[in-house]
Amino acid sequence: MQFFGGSEISPSPPVPTASGNNGHMIYMFNRNGVCLLYREWNRPLRTLNAQQDHKLMFGLLFSLKSLTAKMDPTSAEKGNLGVPQLPGQGCSFHSFRTNTYKLSFMESPSGIKIILVTHPRTGDLRDSLKYIYNLYVEYVVKNPLYTPGSPIRCQLFNTTLDQYMRGIA
């Protein structure tokens, strides 16, 4: 894990691979399924209301993680399908791509899940997701006014995140 010195965020943000305006939406969930953050920058079609949308996304990721762990050809021991695994154990998927969007996923050891939906031709976003997690630690976890487990309403975090998303693909 990185150690932070001074007030700058480290590591420095990854180099952008394409022009900005490609980020569509971001979701953040905690270990219990509470949606901590949902922001959208470009979403023309909305089919469900917000609550159902969040539940659907969380359920989708939960199922995908179990499925990928179960179908892993390299691992010898496998639990039954649907058994919740500790974060970091087993194999974990990190993105899927369709013809209209790409969804990138990262789960931290503490159970914080970050989901980024972007343009289909985006490159590997794992470093970007790690940087967003660092932003979360710096501006949300270290904020004395934030109670863990509640939706994120920190101005600094929102502005820094918007700024960063405008700069990457």
Binding site: N143, L145, R153, Q155
Partner: protein, 176 residues
């Protein structure tokens, strides 16, 4: 021999100290909690002044001591200088820090803020409560300054104000 400590640990410890004193020890007596936190800062400042002025000769007057705080002391504590120093030459000094490191990670709920501006009334809204919570975090550095100066023989009173996050100003009033 220089010993190092993790900055994140210190930040979290201070947050927890303020939260403990305000919510658990003195739940509805914020003034008492503030005074206790300031007293802790006083002890810390007292001891720090011994360490950091060890190799220096005595200060000639109050202004020199304040200038030492602005440059060397703040540099040792927060790795930066005080950005702005004002005085009325009659014992009052205002030290302004444009990016105070213990306020740098704090931010308030944007929705509560907008509702407060629409209201305009004097009732305690979420925005006011957030500002009050942030002010509690400034009592510790106020205590540090007061302890530092008192060990140099300068009796004073220190208060702090948040201008806009993360800028804050410490006002030192020296008792004549």
């Amino acid at each position: 021999m220089v010993r190092e400590v993790s900055e994140s640990c210190l930040d979290n410890l201070l947050t927890e100290v303020v939260s403990c004193y305000c919510n658990r020890f003195y739940p509805n007596k914020h003034d008492l909690a503030a005074r206790r936190i300031e007293a802790i800062g006083y002890q810390v400042g007292h001891q720090l002044s011994e360490r950091y002025t060890m190799e220096r000769p005595r200060f000639n007057d109050h202004l020199e001591a304040i200038k030492f705080i602005c440059k060397d002391f703040w540099l040792e504590l927060f790795k930066k200088h005080i950005d702005n120093l004002r005085t009325n030459h009659r014992g009052t000094f205002v030290l302004q820090d444009n990016k105070f490191c213990w306020l740098a990670h704090m931010s308030i709920d944007p929705l509560a803020d907008s509702s407060k501006s629409a209201d305009g009334s004097a009732s305690p809204t979420a925005g006011n409560k957030a500002t009050h919570a942030m002010k509690m975090h400034l009592y510790f550095p106020c205590g540090i300054l007061r302890g530092f100066l008192s060990n140099l023989g300068i009796l004073c009173a220190v208060s702090a104000d948040i201008l806009t996050l993360p800028t804050c100003a410490f006002t030192i009033r020296i008792k004549a």
